[in-house]
Structures are given as C-alpha cells and as structure tokens.
Subunit: 466 residues, 2 copies
Amino acid sequence: MQFSKITIETIHQLKTIVKPQNVFTDEETLKRYSHDETEDLSFLPEVVVKPETTEEVSALLKFCYDNTIAVTPRGAGTGLSGGALPVFGGISLSMEKMNKIIEIDARNLQAHVEAGVITEVLIDEVAKRNLLYPVDPSSKGSCFIGGNIAHGSGGPRVVKYGTLRDYILNLEVVLPNGEVIWTGANTLKYASGYNLTQLMIGSEGTLGVITKAVLKLVPKPSHNLVMLASFPSADSACEAVSAVFRAGMTPSALEFMERTGMEWVLKYEEIKFELKDNVEAYLLVEVDGNNLETLRADCEKIGEVLYKHGCSDILLGESASEKEELWKIRRKMPLSVKANSVYKEEDTVVPRAELPKLLKGIKEIGNKYGFKSVCYGHAGDGNLHVNIIKESMTEEAWENQLPLGIKEIMQLTVKLGGTLSGEHGIGLIQKPYMSIKFSEVHLQLMRSIKQVFDPKGILNPGKIFN
Amino acid sequence: MQFSKITIETIHQLKTIVKPQNVFTDEETLKRYSHDETEDLSFLPEVVVKPETTEEVSALLKFCYDNTIAVTPRGAGTGLSGGALPVFGGISLSMEKMNKIIEIDARNLQAHVEAGVITEVLIDEVAKRNLLYPVDPSSKGSCFIGGNIAHGSGGPRVVKYGTLRDYILNLEVVLPNGEVIWTGANTLKYASGYNLTQLMIGSEGTLGVITKAVLKLVPKPSHNLVMLASFPSADSACEAVSAVFRAGMTPSALEFMERTGMEWVLKYEEIKFELKDNVEAYLLVEVDGNNLETLRADCEKIGEVLYKHGCSDILLGESASEKEELWKIRRKMPLSVKANSVYKEEDTVVPRAELPKLLKGIKEIGNKYGFKSVCYGHAGDGNLHVNIIKESMTEEAWENQLPLGIKEIMQLTVKLGGTLSGEHGIGLIQKPYMSIKFSEVHLQLMRSIKQVFDPKGILNPGKIFN
C-alpha cells in the first residue's frame, strides 16, 4: 500500500481541522502511541491526533481520504492483537478526548456514550441507577467502549449475559470518506435491511471510526456469590465446566485457571490464599440474581456437580471483600503472567465441551515444540487464553519453531469447531492464521466488504487480512 | 432487472440438478408458492424447486447464476413483508425438504439443523432434553428456522432472552454463484474478522441461501407463571410496561393488546374470558425461572407496579391449562384480526418508553387519514404491530390516502428513535419507506454489499431496496 507521507504542510492542515493543541508530533507522544498491550510490538505513527467531536473526526477522515493518508484508530491501547498499531505510520487517531457519557436513559434502559468512555466508568455510573452493563473485559479499568466494540471484546459475564454484540443497539460511525451514519436504531429489535451495527462490531476499525454508541442496559441483580473450586487436574476442571450447564445452571461467570497462573499471581500480588498440593486447576464460579436464598441453593447445586467431577475443595465468597479477593486472583493473572516472562498470548475458543480436548492438545503441541504454556480464561464460553512462556526457550526456537506450534494450536481449535479468536480480534498478529479458518472465497468476501467501505484502504491498513 | 425466462430446456436441466420429482410447474403448485402471509399479494413463480441437500442448492444456484435466472428463496411462506414473493418470476426455491434436525448437542447446548426445520418442532425436541430455544414467533407452528434467520424474526421472549441474533452461532450459506461457506464457528464468542453470520441474519435471502444453522440453546427454566392485567386506557398500559423494567424486573414476556383485538379473538375463538367495561388494554406478563416461590414473589412485585399504573384487575395463570388459555388470547390475535377485515400490518418498533407516544401518534394519524387500527405486540421490546383495518374505507382511500398515513407512522417511529421493522423485515412492502430511515449514503452501502455477494442480482431480486 502506498500512503502519502505526513509533511509539515499536512501538520499545518491537521491543526486547522482539530484544535492545534490536539495534534502531536513530539517524540515522547509518538512513542507512547506506537504500541498497545500486544507483546513488545512497536510502530511509530507520524502524528497523533485527538479529535474532540464527530465533526472533527469527519473532517479529518475526509482530508485523509482525499490525500491518501493512513489512519489507525485507537482506543485506550489495551488491545492484545495489535489492532491499534500504526503499521504504515501516518496518523494515530486517538479517541481519548471523546469521553462523554451523553445520557443514561433509565426510562429505556439505555446508555448513550462517546467512544472514548472508559468501560468501568460507564459500569460504575449505571450501577448508581441499579443498572448493569455486563460487558467487562479484564482491562475494564482503562479500555474504551469504542475499542471494545471495534474488537468484539468479551469478559467473564458473557456466559450468562451474552456477548458485547447483544448490548450494542446503534452506532455513530464516520466512514473513511468522512460521511457520518448511524448504523441502526435505538431499539431492542431491528429487522430493517442489512445490519451494519453488527457488521461494525469486530471490524477492528477497518470499516469506519465508531464515534458514539447506544448501549442496552439491564437491571442490576441485587446479589451475587462467588466460589473458588480446586481440582486435582486441569482435565477434571474442564469436564466440570460443561457439566454445570448440563445440570441446568447458568452462572454469571465461570473462569478456569491453571495452577501455574495461580502461583504467579501469588508471587506478584498481596493475596491471602493457601496453595495446596494435589491441586492443578481452579474454577471461579459466580452466580447473581435478586434472591440470596436462591443463589445459595444454586451454589449448593453447582457445588454438587463440581464435587462429582473431582473437585477437592470449594471456597465460598459471601462478603464484598471475600468476593473481591477471589476475583482479584483471576483479574490479576494476565499481568502476573506478563510480569514473569516474555510471552505470547493466543485467544482460542471452542465449543464449551471441547475444552478438555483443546487443553490436552495444547500441552501436547507444547511438548512437541518445546514451549510451556499457562492457560486461563472464560471456560464457560469455551474461551481459553493460552499464554506461551518464553522462559528458557532460545531466540531461535521462539522465532522459528514457535510459529509452527501456534499454527498447530489454531488448526486444533478450528478442528474442534472453534476459531482463531474469541474476544481479542485478529489485528496484526493473528493475520497469518486466517487461512486456517477461512477459505479463499470467504476471505475474498471480507476483502470486498472492506473495499465497499474503504476503497482507498486508508483506515487501519494492514489489519485482519492483507 | 433482466432475467432469463424459464424454458422447457431450463426445466429439463433443473431436473438433472435436483430430483425430477422436486421440480414443479403445475398451476396449483405455482399458485401455492405465489404468495406468503403478506396481505393479498401474489406473484407467480415460473417453477418451484425443492432441493434436498446443500450440494443441490449449490448446483442449482451455480446454474442460475451462469444463466441469470431469478431465484427467490422461500421458508414456510409465513412472512409478513413479502420477502418470499417471486416478484420477477423465475424459481421459487423452497427449503421445505431440508428439514432435518442434524444433532442436538446437549454437551455444548447447541442444535445443528437444516434450514427447513419448523421452529416449534425444534423447540419441542430440545425441551425433551430440558433445553430451551427461546425464539418463538407467533407462527412457530409452521415457520422455518431458516426463514426466521433470514428475516431476523422475533417473538415474545426477546424481552428476557434477547433476539434471534443472540442464538445463531454459525450458518452454512450457499452464495449466489454456488460457492458454499460456513459463516462463523460453533462458539459462543467470535472475534475473527467481519462477522458474516450477523450480516446474513436479516438479509432476507438477498445475499445467500441459508442451508444449515448451529443454534445456541439455554437450560429450560422449570417453572413459569402468566398474568393478564387489565387497564382503563392503552396509555396507562404502555406506561406500566417500562415501569416494570425500571423496577428491576425482567419478565420472560410482556405483551400488549388493545381491547378491539381482544373482542375479535373472543369472536373467533372458544376462549372463556369476561370482557369488562372500562378496560381498554391488556398486558400479558410471563415470568420464568427455576424457583416457583421466587416467581410468585416476582409476580407480586410486578403486580404492585401494574396497579400503581392504573391496572384494574390481574388474572393469574398457574396451571398449565390456565397459562395456555391466557397465551392463546395473544397467539390467536393476528389470525382473528385477519379474519375480521382486510388489513395491512406495520411492524413498528421504538425505544420501550416511547410506546405511549407511538400509540397516541398512530391513533392521531388514523384520525387524520380516516383509518382504524388495532394494535398489539411485544411491548416489552417497544415492538408494536399496527393492524390497519379496511372495514368501511373506500378503495380510493385505501389505495391512495392510506400510504400517506403509513408514511407518517414510519416518520413518527423514526423520530422516536425507532425503525421501520422490528421483526418482520423490509421485504417488498416496506421498501417504499426505506428513505425515511436511511440516508442515501447508508442505502448505497447496503446496495454495494449486495453487489459483493450477488453481482448479477439473481437472489431475491426486488427486495429491501431497488
């Protein structure tokens, strides 16, 4: 792809489109916007622009479209697939200044927000009105709603509440040529032509820039309970996961963690927890609802299922601090793993009951290619984060052998009815594996859709496919 | 659009692609496939073809693509927007022989079905395994899963369980040129490039023919309770609807019915129900869950909200037959209205709390243009079916004045944050109103997506847009 370089003249013009103080070319800023949370990858943008309104985004994109300038939209930079990396330089378009909660419409159980609102800020704000926005990725404290939508981000509560997709009613989108549309309507149902709202979700900023969103909210359950269950093997824990659902229970979260992950969390975090022998895996189970007695009965029933599948011990969190402590273990796991070693993270997802096969296969592939992995994730959704640990691997093995192993993991995932990514997206780093999942016909449909929205290919170039 | 006529030679060739006995040209069959449930519209196909396998659909479409023959895919013909009408003649492609439930995967809470499975057949089959497929349009006894997906069909349980969209994991689709793809993966989460599954849902057979689907199931709640609440005015009933949700309750159905609809049901159906004076509207409320005591408490809480909003009386259905009797009123309403008069049905949808404004506006527009309407629908979703009754209207007013009135209803719907159709689709009859909701830029995006999938425009021509 051939994009125009950013010149002094371009910078001058950008400063007439957005406020001059929102155009950055200093080295420190460029460096900060050269990476997201994906491994140690870094690509310098030529300029960082922070628009404050939809009109500014529109004028900016029109200018870039007319001048064939590469634009990489950016949320909070918490992505794990390299979606916000400006691999062709050009403009890093940060949505951080469009961070207003426009309205919390309690009459309709909806929230109207700008794309740069931090997910947890919204969750906390709606909670004050006894409402729940149940989409809470691990990075909720810093990630943006707009980035979540662009990547189809998930989180632990999908298992009961459904995916982010089920909570996005309508999007304001600036198309690559600067035109602005609302993709749908502010309604719970919609059968009015092709659903562009759903097409935008997960399109990773390649089809348009999401500037505003109308979100569905639900009544906030008044109670929840949390259990941490220990298992003698990862296999028995995985088997227990689908047994819980087969028993007719729908927990509001069901997370899986390997022992090594737990060890590393305890190494880096102040958490009171006794690591016992003969425990190889943990399940974190949450139930929520409006009746505490019913929840206690649910926990008992779920507990029975877990014990039947080899569970050796269950810790119950009832008080707010106990529950917080149990959740902290799971929430801190990604950072602890990251702190412990150079790593690569794969975001495998399979039908729930295939988890044991997936986990077993991953370990076998690891043995074959000589890598260790720490797995945890949203087991209730069949979504397993595979953290491949460099530790003592040679650079040569890391660079040349590992990609073959990852390819085999992806092949296994697809063979089990799954796909390359459950909630992180394809971005830059999963691109090489697309042909494992998709036929050329399928890929060509995607490329042609991209062409419809962005004939000049200026928006987030180099992502999802080539 | 210029399509090839079906000749004797074409028929001969079709009989080499599918079994000869599955190609129909007799007048009776052509007539039966010339209409769906949309008003009294009728367009004769030139031939009806009933493939039995995906391979046959693929070969058929390839042949039609190569020879520029119009193909109108058809489910059970229960549609209310004319989506299955072969307006350009050509082939009516009926999916009725692809009606196998391939697998009910109780381990993964999934069902694998062919597109021609009758919705209720699937619902009953999964219920035997204590599972729930919560998508149950009024026509569930005859409509097909494939047609439901193509139209984004709804039903009463969306209000708690979400739309059909949330239950479709993966689709086998035959593209207009005969290529076959699976659109996604059999997983609860999916962040792997543009989501073609979601794009296919609601595309009304214009982008590809859905041949198989993988559906998400949920545990079936063991109990439910039904209430029928009477209100002195439609306005107070509508106000009560959003109050229920604001009180933190999420019923599994919340249906609205006008008094006239009730009168007509009682006229045509054997139902024991006393129609009282001073009642102008009804709400049917269902709650479901695993604990009967909790449900009784829920009913009490919802009842309090309803009484506070002017409800004069609540009938509680506890036994299976009582509940069935109350549901029968709502389920029989569409047919009773249809039996009573020539009518047109609009499928308006707005944010839930705007229902009172919508209903009031519809009546005012009716007064202005001289038409009567009977309204009922999925009030919990803000989805109101507006049945415009011909009765004593002159042909002239019906043909010329009414469309202006409908246009005003659509304008009002859009103004209130809603859209043209909540669950019936655009098809043929809502097409004239598309420009009320969508800008030319937006429509052009849809047309270009159509062009990507179907460059020759052979699949369901004349639908959604021109």
